[in-house]
Every structure is written in C-alpha cells, then in structure tokens.
C-alpha cells in the first residue's frame, strides 16, 4: 500500500465548485508538497541575500543554497559535473538558450534541423526562428499509426546535412516515450547534436544524461513539484564552453572594458543577473521528495492510473482516444467526446471538480496532423488516485446529457 501522498499536498484537500478537487492537469504544472513550500519560505526567511556577490555570511548562505542545488541537480541527472547545469526560468528558456547561443552560431544555409511533429511549441517555434535567421531547413519526423515516431522517416531525414536533432523525450499530448538513447546514437553517427526536451520526462522517469548521451537536455521545475520560475539546461561542458553567452549583464562577466568584456566560466557565463535562488531552494526540496518516493513507485502508480483511465474511457462508445494503444506510454490520456468541443467538456468537468486541460496543448502542428482542432487531456502524477480517475469517468458520462446530445 502506497503512502497517502495527499497529506503532503494541502491544496489537494481543497474544493473546486463545491466538489473535492481531482487535479488531472499535471502535464501543465504539478502541485507542490509542503516540504517544497517550507523550503522556499525557509530560504526567504533565513538565507536571503544576493548570492555570489556579498562577502558577508548571509550572502554566503544564499550562495550555498544555490550551488548545493546545482550539485543536487547534476547528481539527479547523472551529469559529469555541476558546471554542466545551467539554471534558467523553465524548459522554454533553456531551449531558447540552445537555439540562440548554439543554433544561431553553428548553422548555415543548407544545414538542416530535424524535429518531430509531436514537439511542444517551445521546441518548435525556436527552431523555426533559427532556420529563418540562418537559412537552415527545418524538417519534421512524422508518426506511425500508433503515435510513435516513424523509424523510416528518421532514417530518411537524419542525414549528414542534419546539424541539430531536437526531440521531446515524452510527448506532452500523447504521453509516448521516445527512445532517446537510440536517437542520440543515430544523430551522433551523422555528426548532429541532440537537444532533448525533458519537460515531461524528468518529473516521471529516471533520466541519466550520460546514458542517453544527450548533448543538451531541458526541463522545468514546476512540472516536478517545484515553484514556477526555476528550470534547468543540462549541456555537455565542451559544447557550453564553445558557445557565446545568451543573456548579458551582471554575474556573467569576468572583466568589462568600455567596448569589450570577457565572460565568466561555466555555469555563470549563462546566468546573467540575479537568479531565482528561492526557486532553487524549492527545486532542491522537490528532488528530495521525488527521490524519497522513488521513480519505481512513481512509474508504477502512473502506469496503473493511465491504463485504468484508458480501459474505462474505451468502454464509453462516444469517446475517441489518441495514441492510447502504444505500450511506451506515460501518465497522459488524450481524448475527445463525439460532437462536443473539448472546451465545453472541460467546463462541465470543472463543475464536477475535475481539472483537465482542453485545447491544442501548445502543439498546433501535432493537432493538425491528428486531424483535430483540439483535444481533452487528463495527465496524472503519483499523488493521483483511482478515485480521481473514477471521478473523471463519472463526469465524462454526464457531458453529452448536459450538451443535450444524449
């Protein structure tokens, strides 16, 4: 029997429209346990000062909170060195850093960038911009019928012209896990680097950047129990060292003259301005919490909830599911109710206390590819229960009646 995680998340005891809340929008953001909230309060209540700058003890304490978290993240991802961990605002900023600092400086007309049709806009629009600025070509890997990346398409489009392969480890719409290890080997074979969007994977499965041989990997803290506003970019040291800074300002410099400046070493080179130290304190407590629960438990619970939800939804004749027949699926169920727009579904579920996401999930090209304008998405985390899934099903069964279609 699993621990009752709900006791650690006071917000999950609150009510929504008069019902206990069934929070099934974890791919958008997760809730925060008390230990994370306490850690943030503890930082601002007892350690707050500008890190790296002051010589006094309080500033040293703030620096320690920040740098200890960096070491913890490095261990969490099995990076070779804490210098390979850059703090950002979120995965989006991490991916922008790679696109602007690496992409703009290493791509030329005739080069190719390869991404998948299942990318979130954050790993798609940045590459459009790099392509437009450099004259490189942006290509897409499409999907097989089961929703997985087409190997034939990968083999055809990953060529010596490909300089960057940017791919999500887990699709935020379909929940399908891509085989990054295999993709990275194939990318390296043709001389490309691989940029991994880990926003949906790092919170849910163990991620080892050395085992994956990822060149860059981005994730957001807020999708894994941490506060909003703290994210991470992992990058191989050699690549990061060769890249110019992304943002310029304080803390990222060495010497500044009137017309020129030299830049700080890694990781400060990429961390201009005062950073989110309170966020780092929260991220540190979040990693502790997740490691206490253990990824084996997290995966087991999410797998159980996902297959239970799919099995129950499949029993309802007017529900259409997307990407739900593949085995390599984590925590996300995407569906539509016949003749009802997802926005109406979400409003009706909301009135029953069930929180889901409706819309294009920041993946408009994928929606178009699936032939849908938008979809409903229920996404789970380890603190969800089978009761949450039952509540989802009960609410889904009311939708067509309320829409006068029954």
């Amino acid at each position: 029997m699993d621990k009752n995680f709900l006791n650690d998340f006071p917000i999950l005891h609150s009510r929504m429209n008069g019902h206990p809340i069934a929070y099934l929008d974890n791919s958008a953001t997760t809730q925060k346990p008390e230990s994370v909230v306490r850690s943030i309060c503890g930082y601002y209540g007892g350690c707050n000062a500008n890190p790296h700058r002051g010589v006094y003890e309080l500033s040293v304490r703030a620096t320690k909170v920040y740098e200890d978290t960096r070491r913890k993240v490095a261990k969490f991802l099995n990076a070779k060195s804490a210098r390979e961990i850059i703090f950002t605002k979120n995965a989006t900023e991490s991916l922008n850093l790679v696109a602007y600092s690496y992409g703009l400086n290493n791509l030329h007309a005739g080069d190719e960038i390869l991404i998948t049709i299942a990318e979130h806009h954050s790993n798609l629009v940045v590459w459009q911009r790099v392509a437009q600025a450099t004259g490189a070509k942006l290509n897409y890997i499409y999907l097989d019928a089961d929703g997985n990346l087409s190997q034939a398409d990968i083999d055809k489009k990953l060529t010596p012209r490909t300089k960057i392969l940017a791919v999500t480890q887990i699709s935020n719409v379909l929940g399908l896990v891509n085989d990054i290890k295999k993709l990275s080997a194939q990318a390296h074979e043709v001389g490309a680097i691989i940029v991994v969007d880990g926003a949906q994977s790092v919170p849910h499965i163990p991620v080892d950047v050395q085992d994956l041989d990822a060149d860059f990997l981005a994730f957001s803290g807020h999708k894994m129990l941490s506060p909003m506003g703290i994210g991470v970019l992992y990058g191989k040291k050699k690549l990061l060292e060769e890249m110019p800074p992304f943002l310029s300002g304080g803390d990222m410099i060495e010497y500044v003259e009137e017309q020129t400046a030299t830049y700080a070493e890694l990781p400060q080179k990429f961390e201009a301005g005062t950073q989110n130290v309170g966020g780092a304190a929260g991220l540190s407590a979040a990693i502790d919490y997740l490691q206490n629960v253990g990824f084996k438990t997290i995966e087991r619970i999410e797998k159980d909830l996902t297959s239970f939800a799919i099995a129950e939804l499949k029993k309802i004749p007017y529900v259409e599911l997307y990407g739900c027949d593949a085995a390599n699926k984590v925590g996300i169920v995407t569906f539509n109710i016949k003749d009802v727009h997802p926005h109406d579904v979400a409003t009706i579920l909301d009135s029953e206390g069930v929180a889901i996401r409706a819309g294009h999930h920041c993946a408009q090209p994928l929606m178009k590819y699936l032939g849908q304008n938008s979809t409903c998405r229920a996404s789970f985390y380890f603190y969800n229960t089978r009761r949450d899934v039952e509540r989802l099903i009960e609410a889904v069964q009311k939708v067509r009646g309320i829409m006068r279609l029954a």
Partner: protein, 147 residues
C-alpha cells in the same frame, strides 16, 4: 451554474446549420481565432449601402463560441454598420460584466442569454470571438468610414 450556460437555446444555436454556409455575394470575409483554445471562425458579410444584407460563418469551436456566432448573425442581418458596431460593443460590454441592466441588453435579443458567461472568466473569449471578428471586419473593410 452549468444549467445557466448550457441551455436549450444555446444548444439549439450551437447545432443550427442555417447560418453555417458560404455567402455567394460576400463583400467581406474576416477570420477570427482564439489561439489559446483553437476556436476558429470565418465570418462573411454582404454589405450594401451601409447595411448588412446577409451574413454567414464557417469554422470550428466550442458550443459557446458557435452559439454566440449564430445568434450574432441572426441579430445583425438587416442592421446598418453603425448599429452593428454599437450592438457588438453592447454585447462585449455585457460579457465583460460592464453592462448589467437587462433593459439595456434587451436589444441583443437572444444573444442576451449569454449574459451568464460574464461569471466564467475562462469562457469570455469564446463568447466574444464572433463579435470581435465582426468589429475587425468592419474596421478592415473601411466600413466604419463608409457608414
């Protein structure tokens, strides 16, 4: 709360096909889009002598956006551009909760039934999409100067 939103009237208008067509003599076509939820409509207007002779629409969206579009078209047919602009402002004012007097809203006819959306911030954009699109259509066509 829900029963005040998904009423028989809204269901009827959201499923109605009458205004969902292409106009043979459209003088203005305007696309409207809610990027956050994917609602998308194309509004077609046939304007002659400063009067909306006919209107129709295409596209996809939730029941609220589709019903709102359908009711707007019923309301606008035969109105002058000046009247249309004023009614669109009245409707948007109602949805934003700025205009609450039922007597004042009577002019909106059936569209006044969407008043309750003003209590649902997440759905305000759905209800106002068509009306903003109409406003843009009139502006882009220079119709506001012709009138």
């Amino acid at each position: 709360m829900l029963e005040n939103i998904y009423t028989e009237l809204i269901a009827e208008h959201s499923q109605s096909k009458e205004n969902r067509r292409a106009l043979a003599n459209a003088t203005i076509k305007e696309r409207g889009h809610n990027p956050s939820c994917g609602d998308e409509i194309t509004l077609e207007l046939e304007i002659a002598d400063g009067v909306i002779k006919d209107a129709a629409f295409g596209g996809t969206g939730c029941a609220i956006s589709q019903a709102s579009t359908d009711m707007m078209i019923d309301l606008m047919r035969g109105k002058t551009i000046d009247e249309a602009k004023r009614l669109a402002e009245l409707f948007i004012g109602m949805i934003h909760g700025d205009i609450i007097d039922d007597n004042e809203l009577e002019e909106l006819d059936e569209a006044a039934a969407l008043k309750n959306i003003s209590t649902m911030p997440a759905r305000v954009k759905c209800a106002t999409l068509a009306w903003h699109t109409l406003d843009a259509a009139i502006k882009n066509s220079g119709g506001d100067k012709l009138a």
